[in-house]
């Protein structure tokens, strides 16, 4: 039995030229997730909307290639990851492999900034998460997002970032530790208000 996404994909594929209503409904269903990921992968709130738009348009023109072997969410997730990583490479003009490992001072600086924001973010876990991820160095944030938000395997993350698997595992471990510490600190800071 087809799920709602598959029905919409079928309708979008069979629609008359110029009729994008079914695809628009697909965009509505997935826009929050795609745009959120674009924001964290690019590290730039302004770029996120443009990137999300480009991902959706790319998906539309490749819709006939969607074979339904995975869910539509997974399929569009792959397009999004590739598009955002290509954007980052173009933007920064380098591969992830040569990024510096952040030092311990990065942790300390991040914790103090998150704590300072805790008051403003009191009771808003979503904004606290957003703040922590935005403050996290790109070297840690990108592998963490690919693994824990997009559900890629360690090997897939390593391949996409052109890094060794052990480097990826270490970065993700470090990112999780950093996130948990900052989240606990932010939450307790908010609780003290």
């Amino acid at each position: 039995m087809l799920d709602a996404d598959e029905i919409l994909v079928e309708r979008a594929c069979n629609a008359r030229p110029g009729d994008v209503r079914a695809f628009e409904e697909l965009v509505r269903r997935h826009q929050a997730k795609v745009q959120t990921n674009c924001r964290y992968l690019s590290g730039n709130q302004e770029d996120a909307l443009d990137l999300a738009q480009e991902v959706m348009v790319k998906a539309y023109f490749n819709l006939k290639r969607f074979e339904g072997r995975s869910s539509f969410a997974t399929w569009i997730g792959r397009i999004k990851v590739n598009h955002c990583l290509n954007h980052l490479r173009r933007e920064r003009g380098r591969a992830f492999v040569d990024l510096e490992e952040p030092g311990l001072e990065a942790d300390a600086a991040m914790h103090s900034r998150v704590k300072a924001d805790a008051a403003a973010l009191a009771g808003d876990a979503k904004q606290l998460i957003a703040r922590i991820l935005e403050e996290m160095p790109e070297t840690l944030r990108v592998p963490l997002i690919l693994r824990d938000m997009d559900g890629l395997s360690y090997q897939e993350v390593a391949d996409r970032l052109e890094l060794g698997q052990s480097a990826v595992k270490m970065r993700i471990k470090r990112a999780r530790e950093m996130f948990r510490a900052a989240y606990a600190e932010g939450a307790s800071g908010a609780g003290q208000q």
């Binding site: 826009q31 996120a48 963490l144 824990d148 999780r176």
Partner: protein, 77 residues
Amino acid sequence: MPDNSEHDDGQPLEELKEHTLEAGPDLPGRVRRSINRSTLGADSLEFSVTVMLKTFWEHLVVLIESIPGTKGPDKED
């Protein structure tokens, strides 16, 4: 799917699993307009190429027919 290794036996961050922020303004509208622009651009290009090829073909036919002793390409009608 989680891999076990000596580097990271930690659990994925549950907070990130379903974390989404509010979507930006009118993404579906932006996508629709972008698709329409691309489709229109492709249609215009196709039309221009078709017109150009047809014009070139007509000129070629006229040129061939103008050579004495040639009938030009066979026409069905």
